[in-house]
Amino acid sequence: MTRLAAQPGERIDRARALSFTFDGRPVPALAGDTIASALYAAGRRTFSRSFKYHRPRGLMCCAGQCPNCLVAVDGAPGVRACTEPARAGARVEHMNAWPGLEHDAMSAIDRVGGAFTPPGFYYRTFIRPRRLWPAYEFVLRHAAGLGRLPRVQAERDWRTEYRRRHADVLVVGGGVAGLSAAIAAAEHGADVVLADEGPEPGGRLLHEGGHERARALAERARAAGVEILCSAPALGHFDGLVAVWQGDTLHQIRARHHVYATGAIEQPLVFAGNDLPGVMLSGGALRLAALYGVRPGERAVVATTSERGVEAALALSALGVEVLAVADLRPAAGASFSGWTVAQARGRAAVTGAVLEPLPGTPGHGAMRLELECDLVVVSGGESPATALISQAGGRTAYDPARGHFALALASLPAGISVAGQVAGYGGAEEAAASGELAGLEAAGAAGAGGARPARPAGPAPLPAVAEAIPPVTAGRGRAFVCLCEDVTAKDIHRSVQEGYDSIELCKRFTTVMMGPCQGRMCQLASVRTMASETGQELEQVGTTTARPPWSTVPLGALAGRPIEPAKRSSIHGRHRELGATVRWAGDWRRAYDYGDPEGEALAVHRAAGLIDVSTLGKLLVRGPEAGEFLDRLYPNRLSNLKPGRIRYGVLTSDAGRIMDDGTIGRLDEESFYVTTTSSGAGAVEQWFSWWLADWELDVHLSDLTQALSAVNLAGPRSRDILSRLTDADCSAGAFAYLDSRQARVAGVSCLLMRIGFVGELGYEIHFPAAYGEDVWDAILAAGAPDGIRPFGLEPQRILRLEKQHIIVGQDTDSESTPLAAGMPWAVKLDKEEDFIGKWALARATEHPAETALVGFALADGYVPTEGAVVLDERGTAAGQVTSARRSRALDRVIGMAWVPAALAGAGTNITIADDGRRLEARVVTEPFHDPAGELLRS
């Protein structure tokens, strides 16, 4: 199909062709086209299938407002083809139709199912028998819906950034009013951001002959320093913060003053067949022609409630579209079909004709009718001010009968908000510009920019009313849609009222009207109007529904944004990669999970030696004259009496006696303690320590060394020999005993050595400046090579610690666990005279024995129970759960830990584990599976 002759101000570049695919077929396009304009130019009329009835739908608004052109682009569903730029090579696909857009099997619902599928039918029809619900749900989910997400998305395939922007003034809406406001504010010295949902600012000027003015205004705004965000819809006004989504950035804009120049949304009319492809809003038809040089149709019928439709008819006529008739709903408009409306659009796949009739209550109604053959029905059902964001900010609306819409009550505007242009009732371009300038000056003054505080000039008078109320026409000629997104017809609203859902909010919940992607843009006014006529109320009485964010559809990924915490990697991470490690997330960290053979790596630690990177441990240096007292107050055991050079295990509890974290505390000298925490708890412990320090104001200084130091754990029977080759320090059992710490040079690097054994073999934790990470790692692996040392990852470490029944906080414990019930009563010293966090609660806990206990268990069977599998009591009811389970090659059986009822917690008790239909018999083991007496650890 050919395009119109070059249009002044058109957005396309006719010299630059490109091509994308739609459902696999190539579509020619021009640079500057949207996907929709290129498809329309290529002859496509059906763009989507509707939500429920699978009716064909075509372009309607061409402004990203209605739901009719939703497609999937490169696998991402829910993209509006009418605003999405056509990119070379883009893969565009239809949604919600099978096998294809032209022949959708589900459209049978439209032909035969109407009587059986009123609103709420699925709540009623498919509730019995209950066991069939999964089958019903499967069918319903496939029948309804707006596209499908890819099942798998490559990690970090697409992600968004948050951007925070503080400004003096935020202008939402880049039409003539918004641009004028931004210019006025910026030229008075304010720092201004303007967000517009279109690809270029200008609003209606762009397709209504004012493109030169629009571009001049944008130029002037930029010159004045306005930051203009294009293709950037505002999503909501949250306590003064406005979220603006722009591609892969979510701007969080906080301004001292807001100017809303969000314009008005052209409304459709409700008549039979009003959703057929070929029924188009006047703005949509003009945008297609003016911006993209695409002729919207050959023969058109126009129906309008205001001058806007009449002007559109003239413009279309000038473009060579044959305008057969203009039905003007205003009885005294003077046109030949004044007081007439379109009663029906005819056609199956697209409009082939229109039926015009006089309105009910006018002479000739019921007697006269005119049927015209056409391929385009242009409708203009008035304009509804886009007040949603202003309502979120606290503004109120009231029905204005003279204009036929809910208008902003200007007196209700909260402080810090100005409005301009059509949303405020200033209709023409000049009035809108003047109101914008006024709002801009007001904003600059309120924001205190440049000291300018201009006196408020008298504003322009709002335009006189131009639109008449639109009576919904619901004659029995087919479906007349109130809500296109959710396929709600005028008849459905009638039914809703009959069923007793006779307030607009109830009707919304029952029929789902206004809940679709358009967020009420196309249907709120029509719904309220239909409701009013059904219930005999005034529109003001019916009222509107609450305007909730997001105002524009937005991918969840844009809201989720990018994590604020960056991924953390230890300084040895590169080596793990070179060694072929499987890298996985562990909290914020990227960690070596294993090096391909977790069970073999664990065995190497038992038989020779292993080396693991434990740089992720939280590391706090607690210094000062009162450091010992500080730790005594925080931990349930005593630390002030720890001798320099010695280490003690400690479990941190809350004042409710619940386990928060655990780790080791080493005393370096009289006034210095080196505290390690779990990897995932490092931040929380630092926060916890500094909170109490802020409260207690002890003479203590905290330093977080987590990132500054790297750490490795060298473990296994050969580890002493290996370490001895790298240091001058005496590593003999007598000189460097279990739970001793030493400062020493290892491979030339100054290190803190700690003899502790999370993995249950003779072992050394070596902490040193992170810059030497790879040097120390390499040196130890090289020194241990003759002994068969192997690097081991997180997974083998978990096997090893389970063999020792060493708990992992958060894995084996939860927010209810106390150290007493978790098998660590020895870590609580209630005889400590001084107060400590959790003392009172733990003292009470000793008086009331816990109902459950954390124990180890062993399984004869080779099956490894799922973590979270249920432990059954004697009666066969769920009474506990498995927290960890692994296969141990060293022990040649499956071992684990579980919370069990106190009655089943004794060593040797048999317990039953229910796991996904299996019943497993296990035996409780309360002492470590490996080296129960700790001889190896202390060797």
């Binding site: 925070r164 949250f238 306590d239 003064g240 913060l241 969080q252 906080r254 604020i564 809350s654 004042d655 409710a656 931040g683 630092e686 926060q687 500094s690 909170w691 802020a694 409260d695 104001e697 977080d704 009172w840 609660a841 009470r844």
Partner: protein
């Protein structure tokens, strides 16, 4: 919820820079009764109005400070280090 807070060290920042530490309460000085202990551990006043509360500048200087905030409007009246307010 969205507002800005003034860190006593760093100045005005988005609230998402901070961790909330709850309303300021007093830890019992001597061993409490069971009821007092439970109230201290589990009960909050949860006022609709002016509240003194703890904030931690998590993504900044990592300082704990206190703020007086109107929980109805999120207007922050005063901030200060403990003892300053």
């Amino acid at each position: 919820m969205s507002f800005v807070l003034t860190c006593p060290h760093c100045g005005v920042r988005e609230v998402t820079d901070f961790a909330f530490g709850g309303e300021v309460s007093t830890r019992p000085r001597v061993e409490p009764s069971f009821r007092e202990l439970c109230e201290y551990n589990y009960f909050r006043r949860n006022v609709a109005g002016l509240q003194r509360e703890w904030w931690y500048h998590r993504s900044g200087c990592r300082t704990w400070f206190q703020a007086e905030r109107d929980t109805r409007t999120n207007a922050v009246l005063r901030v200060g280090l403990p003892g300053e307010l």
